[in-house]
Symmetry: none
C-alpha cells in the first residue's frame, strides 16, 4: 500500500487543516514530502504540528518514518527495469561461480555505463575515424590482450593503426614515428605501470592525443589523457574482470564502422579475397 493510497483511504477522517496538507501532498506527489517538515508545512500553509499529527494519524511513527516510506516507494519507481536475474545459469546454485560472475559482470556494465559520458564516447569515435591521424596502441601486462584485440579490428576498418612493441624499452624510439595530432590508445588498469605513465608523459609533451582505458580508480595517466574511459573491473575473486573493457572496445568498433562504412566495406571485401586466396579459412 503506497503512501498516496493511505492518504486517500483516510482522507475523510482528516480535519480541515489536515486535508489542506493532504491535498498539497497529493497535488505534487511525492516531491512535496521529500523536503523538511517545515517546507511541507509552509507549502500546505499549515503549521508543523499539523503535519506531525497528520503523519501520526496515517500510521507513521514520526516525520522521518513517513519520509522513509516515500523514499522506499521512489526507489521502486526509479529502480532499474533491467532484470536482476539471480539465476543466470540453469540448474546451477546461485553460489556457483557462473552465477556470481554473471551478476558481477552485469553490475559492472550497468555502473560503467552510468558513469560514462556519452559525449566522450562520441568524441572518441570521431577522433578514431579521422584518417589523417595515425593510431598507436599499447597495453600493460594484463591489458596487452585488449590492445591486441583492438588493433586486430582497427586494422580492418582503417589504415595506419599500429601496436607499440611489447618491450617498453623500445617505446621512446617508436614515439619518433608518432606525429602531433596522432592518437595513442593506452590500456592501464591497476596495478598501474610506471613505464606506461612515462610514455604518456612523453606523448603528451609531443601533443599526441591520448585515449585511455582504465578502471574505476583511474590510472595516474588520466591527467595526461585527452579522453578516458573508466571501466568497472570488480569480480568475485582475486582477479579483475576485463569484460566491460572489451565491451567498450567492441562498441567503439561498431560505432566507427557505422561512420566509415563506405571505406570499410571495400576493405573487408579485399580482406575476404585475400583469405580466400590463402585458403586459411573454411568456406
Amino acid at each position: 500500500m503506497t503512501v498516496a493510497e493511505q492518504i486517500r483511504s483516510q482522507f475523510d477522517q482528516l480535519t480541515p487543516a489536515e486535508r489542506e496538507l493532504a491535498n498539497t501532498l497529493i497535488a505534487n506527489y511525492p516531491m512535496a514530502g521529500l523536503g523538511t517538515i517545515m517546507e511541507l508545512a509552509t507549502a500546505a500553509k499549515v503549521s508543523t504540528p499539523t503535519v506531525m499529527r497528520t503523519v501520526k494519524k496515517l500510521g507513521f511513527g514520526g516525520f522521518p518514518a513517513f519520509q522513509n516510506a516515500l523514499h522506499d516507494e521512489l526507489k521502486q519507481t526509479l529502480s532499474d527495469p533491467i532484470d536482476k536475474h539471480d539465476h543466470w545459469a540453469n540448474d546451477v546454485p546461485a553460489e556457483h561461480m557462473l552465477n556470481q560472475f554473471a551478476t558481477a559482470v552485469t553490475n559492472n556494465l550497468r555502473q560503467s555505463l552510468k558513469q560514462l559520458d556519452h559525449k566522450t564516447f562520441d568524441d572518441v569515435v570521431t577522433l578514431l575515424t579521422e584518417k589523417e591521424r595515425s593510431i598507436h596502441i599499447v597495453g600493460g601486462r594484463i591489458t596487452h590482450a585488449f590492445a591486441d584485440y583492438l588493433q586486430t579490428h582497427l586494422q580492418v576498418i582503417r589504415k595506419n593503426s599500429h601496436m607499440l612493441p611489447a618491450s617498453s624499452g623500445l617505446w621512446p624510439h617508436h614515439l619518433l614515428n608518432v606525429n602531433e595530432g596522432d592518437i595513442l590508445v593506452i590500456f592501464d588498469v591497476r596495478r598501474y605501470e610506471a613505464d606506461l605513465l612515462e610514455l604518456a608523459k612523453l606523448a603528451n609533451k609531443r601533443n599526441v592525443k591520448i585515449i585511455l582505458f582504465t578502471d574505476q580508480w583511474l590510472s595516474p595517466i588520466t591527467s595526461y589523457a585527452t579522453h578516458y574511459f573508466s571501466c568497472r573491473i570488480e569480480a568475485p575473486s582475486g582477479w579483475d574482470s576485463g569484460v566491460v573493457t572489451l565491451f567498450l572496445i567492441e562498441t567503439l568498433i561498431s560505432a566507427m564502422e557505422e561512420v566509415l562504412w563506405p571505406e570499410t566495406s571495400s576493405r573487408l571485401k579485399e580482406l575476404e579475397d585475400i583469405f580466400d586466396f590463402t585458403g586459411r579459412f573454411k568456406r
Copy 2:
C-alpha cells in the same frame, strides 16, 4: 547540467575517498543522495566530512544545497512522461550504439548460460587444475587475443601453460612437445580456420584433450573436442562480440583459483615481489 554530469565531469579531480562516494552516488542515483548526509556517508563507507568536502568541491554551498539540486532534478524526471529508465546509459537515446550493444551483450550472456551445461564447466575446471597435464593454447586471427589473455592468467596460477606460436606452420613441430593426456585449448569462431581444424585432428590422434571455445554455430572442431563451450557472439553490427567468451575465460580462471588457492597465493606473492623488484609498477 545535472548533478550526475557534474560528478562525472569532475571525477578525475576527486581523491580516492571522494571517488568512492561519487561511485555509490552514481550507482544508485539519485536515491543515495536523498537521505541524510550520514546515511550517504555510511552507504559510501566514508565519513560525513568527506561528503561535505565533496559536495563543496562540486560547487554546492553545503549538503542541503546539494540535496535541493537533486530534488529539483527529480522533479523534472518524475514529471517527464518519457520513460528514461529503459536505458543502460544515462541521457543517451535508446538507439545509441552503447544501449544497443549493452542489450545485445546481456542477451548473449543470458542465452549462453542457459545452454551451458554446468557439468562441462566443472569438468573443465577439474581438467585444467590437474597439474600433471600441461596446457597448450591456440587461437585464430581474431580470437588470438583471447588465447593470449587466458595464457597470461593461467601462467600466474599454475605451471606448464604455453601459447602455440602465431604461425600455423610451426604447429606440427610444436605438437611433438605435447604428450598424451595434455590439454589443448582452442579458440575457433567463424569464420572457422582450416589450419586450426587440421591441428585439432592431429592432436586428437595423439590423445590430447581438446577444450574448445566456439560460437553458437559450432566450429567443425567440436567433433574432436573433449569439451566445448558455445558462446553467443551476436552484435548489432557486422562484427561479432567476444564478451561472452571473455566472460567464460575469466569465470574459469576464478573457479580454478578457488581450487588452487594454496599454490596460487604463493605464486602470486612471488610475482608481486618480482614486480616490486623491477619497479615496473606504481605502488
